[in-house]
Amino acid sequence: MYGGGNTFEGIKTDSLAQEDPIKLAEFEARIERGEKIEPTDWMPQLYRKQLIRMIEQHAHSEIIGALPEGTWITRAPGFKRKLSLMAKVQDEVGHGQLLYSAAETLGKSREEMINDLISGKSKYSNIFNYPAFTWADSCFISWLVDAGAIVNQLANAKGSYGPYCRALDRICAEESFHLKYGHHCVIYLATGTKKQREMFQEALNRWWAPMMHFFGPSDKISAHTEVLMKWKVKMSSNDDMRNQFLDMYVPKIWELGFTIPDPNLKKNTETGRWEYTEPDWEEFKRVINGDGPCNKERLEVRRIAEERGRWVREALKAPKATYVTPLA
């Protein structure tokens, strides 16, 4: 799962000055025709750089995203939920694996990417810097954070870089099961005991602001990304994705009898767009820059896992070890 916003740097006007104009024109024409760009094809440096940045952030989001939900695997109530949640979180880690491979085709190794994650140099989806206090929080993530991710990923799957699009096709198919699982969990909370309904309402109150932040800053204040839209790296604006999410899921949340903690939330019937209280973008910036409730903990967990596993990875490289043919 992954949020699309705030993954791009502002583009400098001279970033394309070094590129061969004929090759650049051919490249743009291919994208215009709907062709996919493959790893060995010519591409502008800026395209390569921004794609690595985007796919890497996506991969990190998958493995960091496995942490808040993963802590509920050992506490999931009953066999059905336990088995489903294990499979779901395993999928997320698998998405990470797939995406690191997609990013590696552009020339950055998995190890470099993970080192940049741990040092704080590369980012991941901001929403995972918030804690999952109760079972209902994990249900919110499985349903609505995954729903948001699907909005983003379905758009990106139509992008121009072949390996990323193919990874996203597979990821979206799996995410659709996560969504069903999450929705099912929430329906049980909504139709369960008073305590269960309260648990989800409280989770909704906690997670609504991070969920609105999930799609990134409002278009009014976002970095200019026209060239990335033209190259089909960024496929949809932050506000458009947020609007699509609200359109699809606010009615479903209301249908279950829950209250969304924003008194200004309503659909403007004339424009067809949702209106809402402007999210606190200062808070968003503060959290993404490291000062959220769980940033340190998330990176610390990742750092410790890397440290503890180092001897295993070293042993795989050992020259006297015998090679074992992989199964697939």
């Binding site: 109530p77 066999f79 939920r81 880690v93 694996q97 269960q196 001897w311 050992a318 006297k320």
Partner: protein
């Protein structure tokens, strides 16, 4: 058919799978490489699925629902062997435990495909097929890490020596051993243990690890009779934390 003997067998097998499955699932997000997160999660899902299938057979024999059996009992009502409940520790211990345990399990379920109790025999065919991948995984990694660097060999050696007495606890005998064998329900722990030793030797001999003399090892017993280490109850408390908010609620 001796139902008490059968139930005792089913409980210990189901509890083993549940508790080790739970431990395996704790690796999610913490593996030494992503591929191992995924592998341990797959094994966890298989094991917990297998425990559910075994509890379901128990339910058909008049015991409570699988969720109730798994999520509401106290540690002293569990019959898993101590090996399964020990904390994951470092990857070397988790790997060695997985190797020792699954080497025994695949033989156990292979024996059970011949069980005179049909529901178990049928389930065993399916479980045995799943366990093939678990032992393939364990053997591949033990051979790899057991012959690689000085550090990997010494870590595995240490964990092997630590885990073996617990592993011998897998074969702690049931009070119904004779009945199980006589009625053809299960071939018995002794027969299983002998086959297991041969298999363990076969894999360890392909590495630079040293297997201590079997005669010097003292099995650590008690799990099958509900006598557990201090690690089981906290595991169960965590497992049932949400379930126990309201055991009558549907989640």
């Amino acid at each position: 058919m001796n139902e008490l003997a059968l139930k005792e067998l089913l409980y210990k097998m189901a509890d083993d799978q549940l508790i080790l499955g739970h431990r395996n699932s704790e690796w999610t997000g913490f593996g030494p490489l992503l591929e191992e997160d995924i592998a341990f999660s797959s094994m966890a899902q298989d094991k917990i699925g297998q425990s559910h299938a075994l509890y379901s057979i128990l339910h058909s024999l008049g015991e409570q629902e699988p969720d109730t059996i798994a999520f509401t009992r106290h540690a002293d009502q569990f019959h898993n062997c101590l090996l399964t409940e020990l904390p994951n520790g470092e990857y070397d211990f988790s790997l060695i435990r997985h190797f020792l345990y699954d080497t025994a399990e695949i033989i156990r379920f292979d024996m059970l495909t011949q069980s005179s109790f049909k529901p178990v025999a049928e389930l065993a065919v399916k479980v045995r097929a799943e366990l093939r991948y678990h032992t393939l995984h364990a053997n591949t990694w033990v051979k790899q890490l057991g012959s690689a660097t000085e550090e990997s060999i010494s870590r595995l050696q240490h964990s092997l020596e630590y885990a073996l007495p617990y592993a011998l606890g897998i074969f702690e005998e049931s009070p119904y051993e004779k009945e199980l064998i006589a009625e053809g329900i299960f071939g018995g722990e002794q027969a299983l243990k002998e086959k297991w030793k041969t298999k363990v030797e076969e894999v360890i001999n392909q590495t630079q690890l040293q297997l201590p003399d079997w005669k010097t090892m003292q099995p650590i017993l008690g799990g099958r009779k509900g006598k557990h280490s201090e690690h089981l109850q906290p595991l169960l408390d965590e497992m049932s934390e949400v379930f126990n908010i309201d055991p009558t609620a549907e989640w």
